[in-house]
Subunit: 134 residues, 2 copies
DNA sequence: AAACTAAATAAGAATATTTCTGATTTAGCG
DNA sequence: CGCTAAATCAGAAATATTCTTATTTAGTTT
């Protein structure tokens, strides 16, 4: 929470509430889920506020965004700064961290002669014990 | 092309043209790029037709869809049926196939006790020699 | 404590991508 | 040639996200 003030950002009630929501459940949230939860405390809060804050937190490296195949994204607080990937439950958003990164395997393949590699994505999808497959 | 007829699908001029466009350049296309190219031959063709045909081809396993982080997708004809991943140029859509799948590394980790794994995605992004980084 | 300023928010419009609806056309077949 | 299911069109609709302008607010200064 103090990271925000340090970087010259204001700690508004809504911003604090969004961080608290993310802190309370360590899973990947959709923007809509966050909005619904946030409206319990601030009934008139806008979607824009959710996205603006998620964007700020993402930019600061405090939030991880996972882009799903259906056009939506999920967001999760991410204090462990070391690089990792996720296994995500498509039902509830619960995640497991995967300590392996496939780029280690890739780096020896000489792909970088032909391409300037700027990023990668590795995500595993499934359903946790509580959420049965649809 | 004959796969379509065999499965009881009609080979319309527009469908044929879409496949020909994909055949002509072996890269990942955006839906809009395909539409523009298609309109050179059929000026009044609709977006719907592009998406409908891509969806059909994807469902038949003839086309690979790559969902990008910016909310859009790219599509590529995909005759090599063996499982692989891609390195994609974010400028022009040119791709390199990556024969490695990180799931091989993952399968020994015992994640499947906790999750029923239904899918995964591994994509590497970059810029090819022709497209310099923005 | 009042004033100030840059940051944050509200409200709703705008954008982009993709899907749907209902009417019309067409490919392939008998 | 005529039939029928599949494909297409035109435009509306759904979805997710971003932008615009005016207003409010947190943190600082006086």
């Amino acid at each position: 929470m103090q990271e925000l003030g340090a970087a010259g950002h204001k700690l508004t009630g809504k911003r604090r509430a969004i961080v608290e929501i993310l802190l309370a459940e360590e899973r990947h949230w959709t923007a809509k889920e966050i909005l619904v939860k946030l409206r319990a405390r601030f009934p008139a809060v806008s979607f824009d506020t959710v996205y603006r804050n998620l964007s700020l937190l993402k930019q600061m490296g405090l939030v991880h965004e996972m882009v799903l195949g259906d056009g939506g994204s999920r967001y999760k607080l991410c204090y462990s700064q070391d690089h990792h990937h996720h296994l995500v439950c498509l039902g509830c958003g619960q995640t497991l961290e995967i300590p392996v990164c496939p780029m280690q395997q890739i780096s020896g393949m000489g792909l970088s002669c032909k391409f300037k590699i700027t990023g990668h994505r590795f995500e595993v999808y499934g359903y946790c014990e509580g959420c049965s497959s649809p």
